[in-house]
Symmetry: C2
Subunit: 321 residues, 2 copies
């Protein structure tokens, strides 16, 4: 532990954040004043998301700092993706047991690697003493006609999901079981990919969208409640990675896919007439999408397997349970 002071840490973070702030050209004042001052684009809505990761709750305590940095930004960019927004700026509030400059440098390696991919400038924040906790707030923009809301699902819509499901929960399951964790699964847990390009491509095309953070059944449930509709889900149609297929039998795998959290894929609904357009948009965004169900009038989310109701003993992850 090097015991760097608060101002040293801020100076360090500021130096590493300067290049992107400069490159974006819309950061009037970044890190180093009482607040950031930012130039706004004309004709767009501001989209703001905030999410905190606590050690031992949102990531295993032994997670390396670079992965914590990546994930803290990724889960927030995933929220922007689920709104159809393009990311712009982030703030970072870091609570640390000690002023450990090497830890902060490694954390920034992960955080800024992802920030650079999406041209996100780190424009402010604070560092405080406390149990390890990372609070990130992200800002982005979306045109009014491209907002993807939770309450916009319509009866008759297809339900879609991007990528594959269950990998992150599979890694957690292996880790909790004391087994070795498959590298490919662990990567999905530690370094989720926010589906920003897909979210942008779906704007104006999809109806409702949400990112899969609590688990597919739970998150699709949020969409249904907000939209005052129900959904039928084909459990056999849920996409799985090769790594997940190899590591778990069919029943365990389906439970992880349907109820495991932390995937950060996009679940969205759209008119059947848009199927070709959706597939084309996803291809353009560089990610696979799968049709996994439909929106129905009857409230609730029903999971089906071979035409029969399917249940799992697991529920979507919620805090305080």
């Amino acid at each position: 532990m090097s015991g760097a002071g608060e101002f040293d840490l801020i100076t360090r973070i500021r130096a590493r954040a300067a290049a992107m702030a400069e490159a974006r050209g819309d950061v009037e004042l970044g890190i180093g004043d009482d607040a950031a001052v930012l130039r706004l684009p004309a004709e767009a809505l501001l989209v703001v998301a905030t999410d905190t990761l606590n050690a031992g709750v949102h990531f295993p305590v032994e997670t390396v700092p670079a992965d914590i940095g990546w994930k803290a930004l990724a889960v927030n960019l995933s929220d922007l993706a689920a709104m159809g927004a393009r990311p712009a700026w982030a703030t970072l509030s870091l609570s640390l047991p000690q002023g450990d400059a090497a830890w902060v440098d490694a954390f920034l390696d992960g955080f800024l690697a992802l920030a650079d991919q999406h041209r996100v400038a780190l424009v402010g924040g604070d560092t405080t003493r406390g149990p390890l906790s990372v609070c990130v707030t992200v800002h982005g923009f979306v045109e009014a006609e491209r907002v993807l809301r939770r309450d916009a699902a319509r009866v008759g819509d297809d339900v879609w999901v991007s990528g594959t499901l269950g990998d992150a929960a599979g890694a957690l399951s292996q880790w909790r079981g004391g087994e070795g964790v498959e590298t490919a699964l662990r990567a999905r847990l530690d370094r989720p990919t926010p589906r920003v390009a897909l979210g942008r491509a779906l704007g104006g095309l999809a109806h409702a969208a949400i990112d899969v953070s609590d688990g597919l059944l739970a998150d699709l449930g949020h969409v249904c409640v907000a939209s005052d509709v129900g959904a039928e889900l084909e459990v056999d149609a849920l996409p799985a990675s090769e790594a997940l297929r190899e590591a778990f039998d069919a029943e365990a795998r389906r439970a992880l896919q349907a109820t495991g959290g932390d995937d950060y894929e996009l679940c969205f609904t759209a008119l059947p007439a848009q199927r070709d357009a959706i597939v084309a948009a996803a291809r353009e965004a560089g990610v696979d999408v799968h049709r996994i169900g439909r929106i129905v009038e009857r409230r609730g989310v029903v999971a089906l397997s071979g035409g029969q109701p399917w249940t799992s003993s697991r529920a979507g992850y919620t805090h305080f349970r």
Copy 2:
């Protein structure tokens, strides 16, 4: 402990935040989607500040939840005030050991009381399990010509401060000493007043500004470093409350005023030609201001008492010391 679930807590917070979001008229989507969607004013810069309060670090663990709620928003609005910005929206990330609905209600009593005073809408956030910690991000607006920056102090400027100094540090000192804490001092520690109206009134009039959170000497030092200037401070001119005068002798009081943190007054610099205008602006904003020194060429902050250098054994508060 009532063990409310995460979604119950969010529903609760959402219900109480809805009125102001509605009243403002610029909240397209508030709490309840993946992110907030907000309508931007034309011709303004966005100002963003974020600050975290951790139990036992930023407030005594026995602080009542309503005061924690007030303070968590106040320290952030204070940052907007120091930029000359008018507040608009806030997000709240709450880490709690248990899902205690009564605690959250009491917390919101304080948070929303202050939010209402400044027409701030709570538009998003999250609740997570973890050691008690509150991360707030606030958003406001400022016209380009009214930004109060730290790096804008000029040689020859007067140095001013609003209100009185040392009360919050006096309360902490009494509390640490195991004495009873004076009610008036405790109120300044638990419910600081962000000087939002003063910050707005100083835009275009003052040069540099900062809010006094680490302690006057430390914060004025930040202004001097950013502006590449120095300052001379008249310690005898620092404003003190009656309560502080009664509770501490002159030497202890001056140390609290010069180096104690958590006052959330504004320290700012302006041309001597603006003295009458500054006093008039402060009267309009309903707060006293005092001239306490001047900006000089020689780097560093020199505190003077009776024309002689004055030193204190205390330094401004920094984390990780």
